[in-house]
């Protein structure tokens, strides 16, 4: 294995390792623009130039592979001067856009200039102007002036999704990123080019001008939109979610996330259930009012049970393992059922990169959890097609992201208690609606299609009237004369995780 010297320190690396990676092994940070771990090397920005003893001129560290006995300098006067010159060259035609640029605050051009140059402009000539705010696709806007021609976006479309929708056209000063005439950037992963763009040339049409980067607080979450369980950052500020970005996880989604998943969070903002409804009459938006409504639900369910009526539990496949655990305990301990129904969202569009057909983020996890708690699980629609569905007198639904099933002939259904975060069709049909935190407002674990247990942390606090599902269920249980045991999240988590696997990052 080659042993080389970087800044007078020796390091041994695998054959084929680039100087950039070898330096990183020593904790030496070399600035880059065009290099990205997930993309093929282009070595066109020249920001990573280092001095190699014996080489005629500075070498790009992202491309040059380590050889035995190589001597590399990453902070020599030549290297520092090279970086200054590269930055001066890149900024030559860069517009004075920071105050109106979405990237400002998370722009590596800003950071690299400040760290490696911070020298005044020497230019006497006018900048080359190019098209601004070009809507290149349904989700992406291109500002050609801001582009530093690193080609990360071009390489992404060529190598990762294969759509080849972006190209570099023209020459020299006039080089720019473009789509083919009459075509647009409608790649289902087009927003990845926005993340990849080191500057503000490619911006998200959804996020554009919405919030300055430095106000956003990222929370490590899991995307709920399909069973892949992509790791994402949920960026929130002022009690609102503004943006979803992929969070690197080589085992699940690498550096990517699909446009569908990133933009789907807006659905949580629409028809938000922020207060309890009893017989469609709204209660106050407070925790106390929601708990009162839970007591009403308990009373009604108790009345059904005392008349010998059957109450059945429906689990939405979108809820967390913690919520699922509390709900399954409720079904077996309080409702005395051996069977629960699992309700799922209809299949989504599968694609070659990340998206799976199953549009539910926790179907496998909840089924496994039910099985390990000794409960049978049936599909909601299937169950409602059978004759025994007609005997059901009450329903308790935890989560409501599924289609309302057709009631069978002669149904005796009198109560439907729903714990939901949105006023979707199921919630609209409920006699008692109890608001719970939405996906990005709760801390929970999910099992993805590969069986990996992953944790999603909250980016927001829920509205005042929302109460966590396990608290509501434990409240209803106690009012019905039963008990779920401890009602705190930590014990539900410990119990659920010990049933399903050993913990976050393990396989169920």
């Amino acid at each position: 294995m080659p042993v080389l010297t970087i800044d007078s320190r020796q390091v041994e690396v695998e054959p084929g390792t680039t100087l950039l990676k070898a330096a990183a092994k020593l904790g030496i940070d070399i600035p880059v623009f065009c290099y990205h771990d997930g993309l093929p090397v282009a070595a066109n920005c020249r920001m990573c130039l280092v001095e190699v003893k014996g080489a005629a001129k500075p070498c790009p560290a992202c491309e040059i592979q380590a050889r035995d006995g190589m001597e590399v300098l990453t902070a020599s006067p030549l290297v520092l001067e090279a970086r200054r010159s590269v930055l001066e060259f890149i900024l030559l035609n860069h517009p004075v856009d920071c105050p109106i640029c979405d990237q400002a605050g998370e722009c590596i051009l800003q950071d690299h200039y400040f760290d490696h140059s911070a020298s005044p402009s020497r230019t006497q000539v006018r900048k080359v102007h190019k098209a601004k705010a070009v809507p290149v696709g349904p989700n992406v806007t291109l500002d050609k002036e801001r582009c530093i021609n690193c080609t990360r976006c071009v390489r992404f479309c060529r190598e990762i999704t294969g759509s080849r929708q972006l190209v570099q056209v023209q020459r020299g000063n006039h080089t720019e990123i473009s789509v083919f005439p009459g075509r647009q950037l409608d790649d289902p992963y087009s927003l990845c080019t926005v993340d990849l763009c080191p500057v503000g040339a490619l911006t998200s049409r959804d996020f554009r001008f919405q919030k300055r980067a430095w106000f956003l607080k990222p929370a490590p979450a899991i995307c709920p939109e399909c069973s892949r369980g992509c790791n994402v950052w949920a960026d929130a500020a002022d009690g609102k979610l503004w943006r979803i970005r992929p969070r690197e996880n080589p085992a699940v989604n690498q550096w990517w996330a699909c446009d569908h998943g990133r933009l789907a969070f807006h659905r949580f903002e629409q028809r938000r259930a922020d207060r309890a409804l009893v017989d469609y009459a709204p209660r106050e938006t407070s925790r106390a009012a929601t708990l009162e409504a839970a007591a009403v639900a308990a009373q009604r369910l108790q009345a059904i049970r005392s008349q010998g009526g059957r109450i059945i539990l429906i689990l939405s496949s979108m809820i967390s393992l913690e919520e699922g655990y509390a709900a399954l305990r409720f079904a077996s301990v309080v409702l005395g059922q051996k069977l629960v129904l699992i309700a799922s969202r209809p299949d989504g569009e599968k694609d070659a990169l990340l998206r799976t057909q199953d549009a539910n983020c926790n179907r496998d996890g909840l089924s496994k959890l039910a099985a390990r708690m000794g409960l049978g699980a049936a599909d909601l629609a299937g169950f409602f097609a059978t004759a025994q569905a007609a005997e059901v007198a009450g329903l308790v639904s935890v989560g409501a992201e599924y289609a309302v099933p057709m009631l069978p002939e002669g149904a005796r259904m009198s109560e439907a208690v729903t714990l939901a975060h949105c006023l979707d069709p199921v919630a609209d049909k409920s006699t008692v609606l109890l608001p719970i935190p939405g996906h990005f407002e709760k801390d929970g674990h999910y099992v993805n299609s590969a069986g990996l247990v992953q944790r999603s942390q909250p980016a927001l606090s829920p509205p005042d009237g929302c109460v966590q599902a396990h608290v509501l269920l434990s409240e209803i249980a106690s009012k019905m004369g039963g008990s779920l045991g401890s009602s705190d999240l930590a014990s539900a988590r410990t119990a659920a995780l010990s049933l399903i696997g050993t913990g976050e990052g393990s396989h169920a």
Partner: protein, 399 residues
Amino acid sequence: MTREHLPMPDLTCREMLLQMGPSHPAMHGTVKLDLRLDGETIVGIDTSIGFLHRGFEKMCEASTWNQCFPYADRLNYVSPAINGVGLALAVEKLLGIEVPERTRYIRVILSEIARIQDHLTAIAAAALELGGFTAMLWAVEARDHYYYLFEDVAGARVTLSYCRVGGVRNDLTPDFREKFHKAAAITERLMVDIDKLLTRNRIFVDRMRHLGVMSAAQAVDWGFSGPCLRASGVPYDVRKDDPYLVYDRVDFDVPVGDNGDNFDRYLVRMEEIRQSLRIVRQCFDQMPEGPVNHPDWQVTHPPKTEVYGTIEGMIAQFELVFRGPVVPAGEVFHSVEGGNGELGFYVVSDGSGRPYRLHVRPPCFAIMQALGDMLKGSMVADIIPTFDSINMIGGEIDR
């Protein structure tokens, strides 16, 4: 007035506990004294501070280096300009940079004007609380002329936020020098009047002399500095003993007292005002033209023409605002001569744009802790002139 001067009948009485402050009008700066009294004689004093605590040091950890300056102004709010200078010098010491020559003079000029204001305020408060309302009005009038100067140059009268790491916000106004000379002439005239009104005033002298006495040895032991230390006869002045900026290029005297009592502290302050005027006049004579900010954009904000006109200046401005000036990792202590004595800043940087730790050594903390010692055996009424003569400033002591 000590106990010996009064005929004391041999009465037996119990020790009385009396709380003076924190909202007592003479406990300005907001401080509470727990007095133990034998009749009207002070047996002991416990000083409670903390009523003006703002968490200055902790707030700074969440602020960029330049965002600390407005907070620093609120330390000794009677002479805020010196606080900013002290903080800037400490950070610059860690950076290893020197500000331009002109700024070194500007900072001395601002510091000395602040010292004049500080001393005038201390004298005004003492005179007022001993019944000399006129002297107070005159001192405050003299002080006000400098506030107008500050307003011209910084836009604010008291809390200037004028210093920056690597320089100052802007150059002095073109007529600053002329206005200063006018203000200085008025100050000198008013000083003569105040001098006539107080220095040989029987009531004033009787309540100041031989009270609140600190010997030189005691003062050093307690950690005194500034006018209170010099009144006890120790000629220690940071400007002379560890000269910073351009204090080694100007000629000035360090007045010292003989007795270390309230009256000496008053006299030392009166003389220091005259010396400060001397310093500022010399600075105006020596001050060169030139830039006021260090040229490194990693430290100081680029000129506005560069910010609005070039991407380079724009980026530097952005980074300096949301990341802060790049200060190398390390720690440093730097002190300046504040209005009340040695004002020290201990700063620790972890290499980011914000302080990792910032600690202030406020001069009046050390002085205030000796109050009980200075007043033991004196009468309750003696608290007023003694407390005034040490010029405790709440913003500085509580931080």
